[in-house]
Amino acid sequence: MIKVNYFARLRELTGKAEETLEKESMTVGELLDWAEATYPGFGKDTMYVAVNEEYALKEDVIRSGDICAFIPPVSGG
């Protein structure tokens, strides 16, 4: 099981703050593709993915138990 968090625009778009995917393993790229297909207007090209609170690359592998988050362009400060 892979846990996924949504923030800001994505939380409003998906209507949820988090959900759990019944997967043993997938790449960051696959997670982005899944989100893009599942939520129209997701906008994966501007999106980053954090795995266990660290920025990940598209080829990085997510495993069951990992906590993921989609990170839209940040605007703190």
């Binding site: 839209p72 362009p73 605007s75 400060g77």
Partner: protein
């Protein structure tokens, strides 16, 4: 207080300034970012900030560690507020002490630039006739958000 933290209540500058001050500090710079009423001719009613809190606090601490490497002798505290913020409220505060002033200025400005690059915090602007999450324009680099 923690030296690198996300808070939901008003930011009081004094406690962060007190934290960075010590007998070897000759200079302290405190930057505060405030909610501004007008941006590009549009009137802001208020802002709503959201963060991925544990990761944001971790990234703030990493920025602090980067600063200590680049400017030896600096001591740093960074706090960002989330939730609903109104005109003139402090959104972010960066306190830096240093033996000498040059490093205190440079390191402080470095911190705000890095915050805007890597810390998972999002701002929604609420105007009289609409609202929008800010930050959508920027294209993320293909090779990752690398530590500097």
């Amino acid at each position: 207080m923690k030296p690198f933290e996300i808070v939901e209540t008003p930011i009081e500058a004094q406690k962060y300034t007190d934290y960075v001050l010590h007998a070897g500090a000759g200079a302290v710079t405190v930057f505060t970012g405030h909610v501004r009423e007008w941006t590009h001719g549009v009137r802001t009613l208020y802002l709503a900030y959201e963060a991925y809190v544990p990761m944001a606090e971790k990234k703030l601490a990493e920025i602090g560690a980067e600063m200590e490497v680049k400017w030896p002798g600096v001591k740093v505290a960074i706090v960002h507020r989330i939730g609903e913020l109104h005109i003139s409220d402090i959104a972010v505060l960066i306190a830096v002490s240093s033996p000498h002033r040059k490093a205190a200025y440079e390191a402080n400005e470095y911190a705000i630039e890095r915050i805007k690059e890597v810390v998972p915090i999002w701002k929604k602007e609420i105007w009289e006739d609409g609202e929008e999450w800010i930050g959508g324009q920027k294209k993320y680099p293909e090779n990752g958000v690398v530590s500097k």
